[in-house]
């Protein structure tokens, strides 16, 4: 025979279990990576020169000034263009462009070790110049020394952001 006194605690316990389960799901859901994660890739074109006029590197490359000077032989770096792209499911994503220079992201996938496999295509107008596949870590910029321009060189920087 049904009685409120007997059934109420059971109902309360069931309610508590439901809320406990919901809390667990919320907790783990907050830390779970979404099935289709949107990654952000930053592309930048730098003009490297030995001009005496000093320019600041973009904040994402702060700390790389000495390495860039040693690695590329230029003392001054100026941002020509930069762009952050949220990479969805498009086949090709334009990372950055300036004039006829275009840098496209041809593929991006995350490996099991947390690193990213990126495909980069460098074009001048409609001409493909170079295509590369690289394995990069998060916030690890990959530098490409591009064509010469004026007294310096065009440097392409690609970096996967979280």
């Amino acid at each position: 025979m049904w009685s409120f006194e007997e059934n109420a605690p059971i109902k309360l316990r069931k309610g508590c279990r439901f809320y406990l389960l919901a809390a667990f799901l919320l907790l783990f859901g907050a830390f779970a990576k979404p099935a289709i994660a949107t990654e952000h890739v930053w592309g930048c074109l730098l003009y490297a020169s030995n001009s005496p006029k000093a320019f600041d590197l973009p904040p994402r490359l702060s700390g790389y000034d000495v390495r860039l000077r040693n690695g590329l032989g230029f003392s001054n770096y100026r941002v020509i263009a930069q762009r952050e792209t949220a990479v969805g499911d498009q086949h090709q994503n334009l990372l950055v462009s300036a004039g006829e220079i275009q840098v496209l992201l041809t593929n991006l996938s995350r490996a099991s070790d947390g690193k990213y496999l990126v495909g980069i295509l460098f074009l001048e107008g409609t001409n493909q110049v170079m295509e590369t596949q690289a394995r990069v870590g998060e916030r690890s910029p990959l530098f490409i020394r591009g064509p010469g321009w004026r007294e310096g060189q065009i440097i392409i920087v690609v970096m996967v952001d979280s």
Binding site: E5, E6, P9, L27, F31, L45, Y47, S62, G63, Y64, R67, L68, N70, G71, L72, I80, A81, A98, G99, E100, I101, K115, L117, F122, N127, Q128, V129, M130, E131, T132, Q133, A134, R135, V136, G137, R139, S140, P141, L142, F143, I144, R145, G146, P147, G148, W149, R150, I154
Partner: protein, 161 residues
């Protein structure tokens, strides 16, 4: 000195006597009718609202005891899970959540050095023009793909568009 209410209650209950009773009744002759109605109501209530003997007086007690026993049995069964007390499991779970939060939310490594944890490994490069050569320069904490043989861009070309 007694108030009217005290005297009235005592009079209704038959507790007034002597001079006090005579003076109260002479001061309030109209209250006799009220007393008669009160006594009638009192008798009526006594006849109809008396204590009633229950057919099975232990029923409620037995049912309550059964419920208490069920609660105790259920509580005892659930207080342990997989052989561990629930409180221990809750502690382990809280520790796991704490470590999970620590490792997922707090950045590690040398934050002062932006190159720490640097990974950029070129797997393959391909140039469309055979005159253009791509070489990979793996330096410490910096990887550069150097393209050689590219035509220099015209100096008047506006790259800021």
């Amino acid at each position: 000195m007694k108030t009217f209410e005290e005297k009235f209650n005592a009079w209704l209950d038959g507790l007034l006597s002597g001079e006090e009773l005579k003076s109260f009744e002479s001061e309030h002759p109209s209250l006799h009718q009220d007393k008669a109605e009160f006594l009638k109501l009192k008798n009526l209530l006594r006849d109809n609202l008396g204590s009633r003997k229950l057919g099975n007086p232990d029923f409620l007690i037995r049912r309550s005891w059964r419920q208490v026993e069920r609660e105790i049995a259920r509580g005892g069964r659930h207080s342990r899970l997989l052989g561990f007390p629930r409180i221990a499991l809750a502690g382990i779970f809280a520790l796991c959540v704490g470590f999970g939060l620590f490792f997922s939310m707090i950045p590690r490594g040398n934050l002062a050095d932006p190159g720490s944890g640097y990974v950029a490994e070129v797997l393959k490069t391909k140039t469309a023009d055979p005159k253009v050569k791509a070489t990979v320069d793996n330096q410490k904490d910096m990887t550069i793909i150097k393209l050689e043989g590219l035509d220099k861009l015209p100096p008047d070309k506006d790259l800021n568009r």
